[in-house]
């Protein structure tokens, strides 16, 4: 027979949750700012900060981070057009506009920014067919539809865009298998599915999803190791524990996954020495996979971690404070 693409979890892989180690890892990350790797990833720094802060908050450790420094940094990333860039001197983009608003929401400090200008920036990205460009250069992707509505939802300004048209476009990206791709006609992909189900939740249009069909596609992502992949015949990756799991939660089918096997897989992705999570057991850790490992465990009901909201990937108590309750199917 054929070997199914998967990993084998070694018997000595971590099986206990090492939250303190992860908090230490994140707190120390990026302290050596002239590190070569750090420069390489500067183009997404705002998202990197969002990943780090969110996972710290989920672990109850947000106070270890420097709120003032971060607020000042974000302020200097807002451009005249209202959009936010990943770092100082970089160009604005809707991805980093969302990350900035998410970060400031954690601190309840969104007003250090010019919110009206930011809303104008996001509104200006919507196209005639309802889609959203990522920035002024015009790339269209359903990820950007999600970023736009998530940003506006956090600001309480969803009325700024043409929601009907936006929904129409996202639905035009629904495929025969119930999944979604980046543009109409594109292959279904767990990351895009997360963005589109998240979008539809915020838009109050989840009933348009074929929950059974999509749920089936999503639970077919689970492999013998317990881990989840993003598409057929890809290796499992801890970040898909978020994209797939959150999508299942949104459409009310999270019970279709073998939770305990997934939990074992996620725990096996920890690095006992350095702290943090890697994409799969034994690989190098990074803040991205650390957030999604912890967030995935939260969705699975891990008691030591705060509840995470599956639509916005932020602590539920933050959204509670904002009065945000995006729809979930049951």
């Amino acid at each position: 027979g054929t070997q199914v693409k998967d990993v084998v979890i070694k018997s000595d892989a971590p099986s206990a949750l090492l939250l303190d180690k992860h908090a230490d890892y994140i707190a120390a990350y990026g302290s050596k700012k002239d590190d070569y790797e750090y420069t390489l990833s500067e183009y997404l720094r705002m998202s990197g900060i969002y990943w780090g802060l969110t996972v710290m908050d989920l672990m109850g450790q947000l106070t270890r981070m420097n709120q003032q420094e971060i607020s000042d940094f974000i302020k200097s990333c807002q451009h005249d057009c209202g959009g936010i860039s990943a770092s100082i001197g970089h160009d604005p983009h809707v991805l980093y506009t969302l990350s900035a608003v998410q970060i400031l929401s954690l601190y309840d400090n969104v007003n250090v920014l010019d919110v009206d200008k930011m809303v104008e920036y996001v509104r200006g990205l919507q196209q005639e067919d309802g889609s959203f460009a990522g920035d002024k250069w015009g790339e269209i992707d359903t990820r950007f539809s999600f970023c736009a509505v998530a940003t506006l939802a956090l600001l309480g300004r969803l009325d700024a865009i043409n929601m009907d048209k936006a929904v129409e476009f996202v639905l035009s990206c629904m495929n025969f298998d119930g999944g979604f791709g980046c543009r109409p006609g594109s292959e279904s992909h767990a990351g895009q599915i997360y963005c589109c189900t998240g979008f539809l939740s915020i838009a109050g249009q989840l009933h348009q999803v074929n929950a059974d069909l999509l749920g089936w596609w999503l639970c077919e992502r689970q492999l013998p190791s317990g881990g989840l992949n993003g598409r057929p015949e890809k290796l499992p990756d801890v970040c898909y524990s978020w994209w797939v799991l959150a999508s299942l939660k949104i459409i009310g089918r999270i019970h279709w996954i073998d939770k305990s096997k997934l939990r074992s897989f996620i725990l096996a992705c920890q690095d006992e020495e350095t702290g943090g999570f890697a994409d799969r057991p034994g690989d190098m850790v990074d803040p991205f996979h650390t957030l999604f490992g912890v967030a995935g465990l939260s969705l699975l009901g891990e008691g030591q971690i705060k509840d995470v909201n599956p639509v916005l990937c932020m602590p539920e108590d933050v959204l509670e404070r904002l009065g945000l309750h995006p729809d979930l199917l049951s």
Partner: protein, 478 residues
């Protein structure tokens, strides 16, 4: 000299060396990092061997921060850089860090002001993809550049009178633009194929490929069908590549859409990309041929917005045949490579498309496809032509080679809505051999599953077969 000044001098030299390498050898086709932890005394870390450009790893930790910060100082208006310096710096940066969005944006601005031409940027992106075949920002930038090329190749004005007047005078220009577009399209297919081969199930490469066809070859039956034929071998050697198979699903769906649209339009044949594709064996376009001249009203250069002509339609086997061939391919691969989820997913998609196509077209086909009798008397020249046993590749090549000989005959003989006039090409098809049994339906799919389960030695294969059966029952069998 202070240590940091020394570093600056060194780095500036390296940036110069990289750009001189491109000037010396415009055929560089691959870039890479050479693992080399220490500098050799007084020797450049830039190595050019044949058409491969290498950068020794020891210099990267100086090089990257230097060019990175320099570009950002420029962006914040704290330091001026002239156009040539910007070109050099962004080139170096993007070869080291091709996801640095802002660097690509600087190049967009250089393109807009004429300091860079689009082909140069496409070349840089192509090189970056040899090292980083998934790089999302590289693909995103590429689409923007291609849109600039499309705009350059499109009719300059919507003023119809102006176009009519300038008609014949601009025919040479239109030909030049058309050829440029074809070259660019052809190159894009190659870049996508290379990137797909460098990284398995490369979502970004394949979704880009789809974007290119959607935006640069709309309605072009010949391109769609050529892609379907040429990718057959590739997917047979990459049976786990879900994106590769999805591409075939996209092509089939696009062919269905184009072929069914052409049934509903009545118009004289228009010049389209189909008639001047670089893949056709004959020289194109044919000057003097009345149907290939634009008449000043449209350009052959722009992606063809009009539905497929009857001429184009004849290039492509009918849909039932295409579906049958695809299912056969899928069957062969499932049997040869047991336990591959991708192949079973492909089967679901193709069967779904086929199932819905039949449902939509049963009223066009008087006999319907449930019939067992051989359809030797079937004379409809359009969509409902039955499949035959000539090998799929053989069919494609035969058609292309005979196209130009038959083109004029076809244009005169073919009724636009495909009714009434017996198509001479159908006679040719008849001569190739007895028709196949009718393409698969639910019962034959269930027997296929049973056969697989019976002979199955791979547990995964068994699982996928059962899942397919469950899918047929719940999704199709309603």
């Amino acid at each position: 000299m202070a240590e940091s000044e020394e570093e600056d001098v060194l780095v500036q030299r390296v940036v110069k060396d990289i750009n001189n390498a491109f000037k010396r050898n415009p055929n560089i086709d691959e870039i890479g990092l050479i693992l080399c932890p220490e500098a050799r005394y007084n020797r450049s870390p830039i190595v050019l061997v044949e058409n491969k450009l290498g950068v020794e790893s020891w210099c990267v930790k100086f090089l990257l921060p230097y060019v990175h910060n320099k570009l950002l100082l420029y962006r914040q208006r704290k330091q001026w850089l002239d156009r040539e310096a910007l070109v050099d710096i962004t080139c170096t940066l993007l070869l080291l860090n091709s996801d640095f969005t802002t660097a690509w944006n600087v190049r967009k601005e250089l393109l807009q002001c004429g300091a860079l031409n689009p082909e140069r940027d496409l070349y840089l992106g192509k090189l970056a993809l040899t090292k980083f075949p998934k790089s999302p920002e590289t693909w995103i930038h590429r689409r923007w550049v291609l849109q600039q090329v499309l705009q350059e190749c499109s009719p300059p004005s919507s003023d119809r009178k102006e176009q009519r007047d300038s008609g014949l005078r601009d025919a040479a220009e239109r030909t030049r633009l058309s050829e440029r577009l074809h070259r660019v399209l052809h190159d894009e297919m190659k870049v996508c194929a290379d990137a797909a081969s460098r990284y398995p199930s490369n979502y970004n490469a394949w979704s880009h490929r789809i974007w290119v066809l959607q935006n640069m070859a709309q309605g072009n039956l010949k391109v769609l069908h050529d892609e379907l034929s040429s990718m057959r071998e590739w997917v047979s050697m990459h049976v786990s590549d879900h994106s590769g198979f999805h591409y075939r699903q996209f092509l089939l769906k696009a062919l269905v859409r184009e072929l069914s649209q052409s049934m509903h339009h009545h118009h004289a044949p228009w010049p389209s990309l189909g008639s001047s594709s670089p893949r056709s064996p004959s020289p194109d376009p044919q000057p003097g041929h009345p149907h290939h001249q634009a008449n000043g009203e449209a350009t052959a250069a722009a992606p063809c917005p009009s539905p497929a002509t009857p001429e184009d339609q004849s290039l492509v086997p009918a849909m039932p045949q295409l579906f049958h061939q695809e299912m056969e391919l899928c069957t062969d691969l499932i049997q040869s490579f047991p336990g591959h989820e991708t192949l079973w997913c492909h089967r679901r998609h193709v069967f779904y498309l086929w199932h819905h196509w039949r449902r939509d077209h049963d009223h066009h086909d008087g006999q319907g496809c449930g019939s067992e009798s051989p359809q030797l008397n079937h004379t409809d020249a359009g969509l409902s032509s039955y499949p035959h046993t000539a090998s799929p590749r053989g069919v494609g090549i035969d058609r292309v080679e005979s196209r130009n000989g038959q083109a004029q005959e076809g244009q005169n003989a073919m009724e636009v809505d495909g009714v009434g006039v017996p198509d001479p090409r159908n006679t040719k098809r008849l001569k190739r051999g007895p028709p196949d049994p009718c393409p698969p339906a639910l019962p034959s799919e269930h027997s296929f599953i049973a056969r697989v389960l019976e002979g199955c030695r791979s547990p995964e294969q068994g699982c996928f077969a059962l899942a397919y059966r469950k899918w047929l029952d719940s999704v199709i069998g309603q």
